[in-house]
């Protein structure tokens, strides 16, 4: 049964379709734009779309983290790297490698078509849920059954910060 466009369910469906389109358009802009600043703008749109997908998938906490970490940290960091490294200055003199583009397209198209065909043809079997996947449950499991991985990730992030500082300091005079 199709819900009416003006009912609450219909509106949810329309918002889902809009966010789906935003994700696809942002992703296409991010990989095809000639100027890197536009690619970062497309990447941000794509990340916001993926965050709304997480919201539709019953995970508001992961959705918020997606916006905080990806849009708030990673995209801004890439924008700063573009400003620091200024990669646009040689763009006009160079032509892209003519072999790369068709080969890349064929690889990506084969992988995508295969995965989509698998998604639509396979018979997925759902199991009964043993909890509701709420933020409470996520927090409890992070600090009990996954506490070791949680601590290790904090160590990895600390080392990444120190390493980034050391690498970026190198060669400055």
């Amino acid at each position: 049964m199709t819900p009416s466009v003006f009912s609450a369910d219909g509106l949810v469906g329309i918002i889902f379709l809009l966010m789906l389109a935003a994700t696809l358009v942002g992703g296409i802009v991010a990989v095809t734009a000639k100027r890197l600043v536009r690619a970062v703008a497309g990447l941000i749109v794509c990340f916001v779309g993926v965050a709304s997908m997480y919201f539709f998938l019953n995970a508001p906490f992961v959705s918020m983290m997606q916006i905080l970490i990806y849009v708030g940290a990673i995209a801004v960091m890439i924008a700063f790297a573009i400003m620091l490294a200024d990669p646009e200055n040689k763009l006009q003199q160079r032509k892209g490698n003519v072999v790369n583009s068709p080969v890349g397209f064929c690889c990506a198209a084969l992988i995508t078509v295969g995965l989509v065909a698998l998604a639509f043809r396979a018979k997925w079997i759902a199991f009964a849920k043993i909890n509701d996947g709420s933020v409470d449950e996520v927090g409890t499991q992070l600090l009990t059954s996954h506490a070791m991985a949680f601590e290790l990730v904090s160590l990895v992030l600390l080392i990444a910060i120190i390493g980034a500082l050391i690498i970026a300091k190198e060669g400055r005079r």
Binding site: P3, D9, V12, G13, F16, L17, L20, T23, A30, V31, L36, A39, L43, C46, V50, M53, L57, A59, F61, V62, Q66, I69, Y70, A73, I74, F80, A81, I82, L84, A85, P87, R94, G96, N97, N100, G104, F105, C107, A108, I111, T112, V116, L118, A119, W124, A126, K129, N131, E137, Q141, L142, V153, V156, L157, I159, A160, I167, A168, E170, G171
Partner: protein
Amino acid sequence: MEILTLYNSLAVYLSLAAVLFGLGIYGFITRRDFIGMLISAEMILNGASLNFMAFNRFLAPDPAIGQIFTLFIMAIAAAEAAIGLSLVVAVYRYYRSTDCQDVTKLQG
């Protein structure tokens, strides 16, 4: 399949994740500068996370595991982007370029 109830079907989310993954692969192969390749790598990671979350919502018996896995993917992606971008800045200081075909000192 009604178009307004697509948000309740597993195959739609899996297809979107596959398309994101494919776009990332395409960008990773065709981009010629390191920052563009990093952007594509982030899109590949996002496709993988979306796949985890879709299975987590529709099939998995414990819906907290997929969320935890996605959070870990985000943390690793943040570490990878920090290291990668500092390497890009260091390479730019040395070679005055971020094009991957200029950085050929180890090629012999």
